[in-house]
């Protein structure tokens, strides 16, 4: 009993530690002061008004939203197909390929960014939305593959075999049986990948300069001169955004299709 209480308290402390930036950033974004003051003396929505009046911040937000959306839009069917192949496929080297999937997760982003910089300059998509989208497809893909593959692995193959024995070809079987029973897993994967891609900084620093500034890059740059109080607003915005999406992903992960 005592042990359980102790573990419970420990878990809460760790969670508080992880979440501590939230307790600093959220109040800061509602501060009425001109500079950074913590804890704030008075509260207002002034900084939010400033943020939504600042064109360059809104542009950065728009760019991030756009490239993340299109990257995930493309990465999701791609990753789903890869996951299906890894789980159901019957080909030589499938096991080896399975372990390759997580490689982008552990591969140093610095090197990846540098490589992309050279490549993009050569083929002329440096500092472009296309360049960002292509890079983020690769960044988001492993998350989608890992999460959807887990869903497919727990999916009863006899359902697919039955559908096919009843006359459905592979595509019909996938769209009428497999997809309706696994879409929530795919959605969870897509959302997680979106969260990851949306606040990616390092690669964006390498492959963009002036034209295409994502929100994380804009935040990073604004640290250069002085600490812009608007940063707190942006941070709050990102936190709330992530919380909502993570909540959605968790919800989808729990969906049972019966």
């Amino acid at each position: 009993m005592g042990q359980k209480v102790f573990l419970g308290i420990l878990a809460i402390l760790i969670l508080l530690f992880i979440a501590s930036p939230v307790f600093v950033v959220l109040p800061l974004s509602f501060s009425d002061a001109r500079g950074i003051d913590f804890p704030p003396e008075s509260y207002s929505l002034r900084r939010f008004r400033d943020f939504f009046g600042a064109t360059e911040w809104l542009n950065a937000l728009w760019t991030s939203a756009k490239v993340s959306f299109f990257a995930i839009l493309i990465a999701t069917p791609l990753g789903t197909g890869m996951a299906l192949g890894l789980v159901r496929g019957k080909f030589f080297g499938r096991k080896l390929l399975n372990s390759f999937v997580i490689l982008p997760l552990v591969f140093p982003t610095l090197i990846y960014g540098l490589a992309l910089l050279f490549l993009y300059r050569r083929i002329g998509i440096y500092d472009s939305e296309l360049g960002l989208v292509l890079a983020y497809i690769v960044v988001g893909l492993p998350f989608i593959v890992l999460i959807t593959a887990a869903r497919f692995r727990s999916f009863d193959e006899s359902l697919e075999l039955t559908a096919m024995s009843l006359g459905a070809n592979w595509w019909q079987s996938f769209f009428k049986v497999t997809l309706p029973l696994t879409w929530s897993g795919i959605a969870a994967g897509a959302i997680v990948a979106f969260i990851i891609v949306f606040d990616e900084l390092i690669i964006a620093l390498f492959i963009t300069r002036i034209q295409e500034v994502t929100l994380p890059v804009k935040m990073f740059n604004s640290l250069d001169l002085d600490v812009d109080p608007l940063l707190a607003v942006v941070a709050s915005f990102l936190i709330i955004n992530s919380l909502i999406l993570a909540g959605l992903a968790a919800l989808f992960a729990r969906v049972r299709h019966e």
């Binding site: 006899s158 075999l161 024995s165 009843l166 006359g167 029973l181």
Partner: protein, 386 residues
């Protein structure tokens, strides 16, 4: 679930099934495991054919080869004379019922059964009519709008069967379809399946490890072991004339008495049991697919139900009348089971045998320690290779 006679399907003329031929079919998994070993077999059109064997005997693999979930490494499978090994699953037109039923959980019972019909672009009204027909056939009318999770296990099984027969395939495969049901329900479903098969006239290949189920349902049984067929025959043939000791013990209880061939003649084979002096056992000459040479070590097989126990005669068992085999023995244990008593006895030369005798007026009953004579007609003795 009211048992009523099944209305014969008006379109199900008998003989709608197709025959299935295996020609030297081999399936390996990796380098070591040979799941199906150069199998050749012919299943008649309209036959209820059961693949019976312990787990790992290759029966499910064989079924998956017919279904198309697996491809054979060697050999060819023909359905209705057409080779099918290079035909994709969805073009084979084979009904499949899995042990877990594989009902689509996101579809109602109606949509589950309509699935193969919709795929075939049948008209809506026709689909509705056909679904009603097959639901009626499995006695589940009125279940159209339920979801699979809202019906019982036995009902799920019948829905899976209805879905498999909806598009009228000439061949239906069933992989332990009753394995998940409790005993009482299983017996009921066996009867239903038998009647359904008779009214449809399709060919059924049925996989089970349950010998009672196999014997109740089947026209013919193939007993499998290690990827090979040990024997093919009607339930009666494989039970009463098992080809070897594996088949004998897999299909019900079998007493195997080790013996040696001492004399051969037109009216039978004479065996001597182990020990000195060995007791003489007679086996009819046609009782066994094997031809035993003189002095060869063999088994004499007899079913426990055939052994009759009588009190030991003080003068010894004698030679009998030539129509019966006799072995003096001692009762080790007697188990009462309501309708019969099962005895465990040890013969004087050391073999352990089972004997089952029905409880009847005037029949002698024995207790542990009693000396008895085990007695059975020569015609129920089988000669098996050791």
């Amino acid at each position: 679930m009211t048992a009523r006679p099944l209305a014969p399907d008006p379109r199900a003329a008998t003989g709608r099934g197709e025959n299935v031929v295996f020609r030297g079919v081999t399936k390996r998994f990796g380098d070591e495991v040979v799941a199906v070993d150069t199998m050749s077999l012919e299943i008649q059109a309209g036959e209820f054919f059961t693949l019976l064997g312990p787990s790992g005997s290759g029966k499910s693999t064989l079924l998956n080869l017919v279904l198309g979930a697996l491809r054979p490494d060697e050999g060819e499978i023909l359905v209705g004379g057409e080779p099918i090994t290079s035909v994709p699953i969805h073009k084979r037109n084979i009904g499949m019922v899995f042990q877990n039923y594989a009902l689509f959980p996101h579809m109602t019972v109606f949509k589950n059964i309509a699935f193969p019909l919709g795929i075939r672009r049948m008209a809506k009204a026709e689909i509705k009519q056909r679904v009603e027909e097959v639901l009626d056939l499995v006695q589940l009318s009125g279940f159209e709008n339920r979801y699979p999770s809202q019906v019982s296990g036995g009902q799920q099984q019948r829905i899976a069967t209805a879905r498999a027969i909806a598009a009228e395939p000439p061949l239906i495969l069933m992989d332990e379809p009753l394995g998940a049901l409790d005993v009482k329900l299983r017996v009921e479903m066996q009867e239903q399946l038998r009647l359904l098969h008779r009214s449809l006239g399709v060919t059924v290949i049925y996989v089970t490890h349950d010998q009672d189920e196999a014997m109740t349902l089947s026209d013919r049984i193939a007993v499998m072991r290690d990827g090979r067929i040990e024997q093919v025959g009607t339930p009666r043939e494989v039970y009463e004339q098992p080809a070897n000791s594996f088949v004998a013990s897999f299909l019900g209880d079998a007493n195997l008495i080790a013996a040696r061939v001492v004399r051969q003649s037109d009216d039978g084979v004479e065996l001597a049991t182990r020990g000195e002096p060995g007791m003489v056992l007679r086996v009819p000459s046609d009782a066994g697919s094997m031809t035993a040479g003189l002095d060869e070590d063999v088994y004499c097989m007899v079913r426990p139900q055939r052994i009759d126990l009588t009190s030991a005669h003080p003068a010894g068992p004698g030679d009998g009348d030539g129509m019966h085999n006799l072995l003096p023995a001692t009762v080790e244990a007697a188990y009462f089971s309501g309708t019969e008593i099962r005895y465990l006895i040890t013969t004087d030369h050391g073999d352990s045998l089972h004997a089952i005798s029905a409880i009847e007026e005037g029949r002698e009953e024995f207790a542990a320690g009693d000396g008895v004579i085990a007695r059975w007609p020569v015609e129920f003795s089988r000669l098996l290779s050791s």
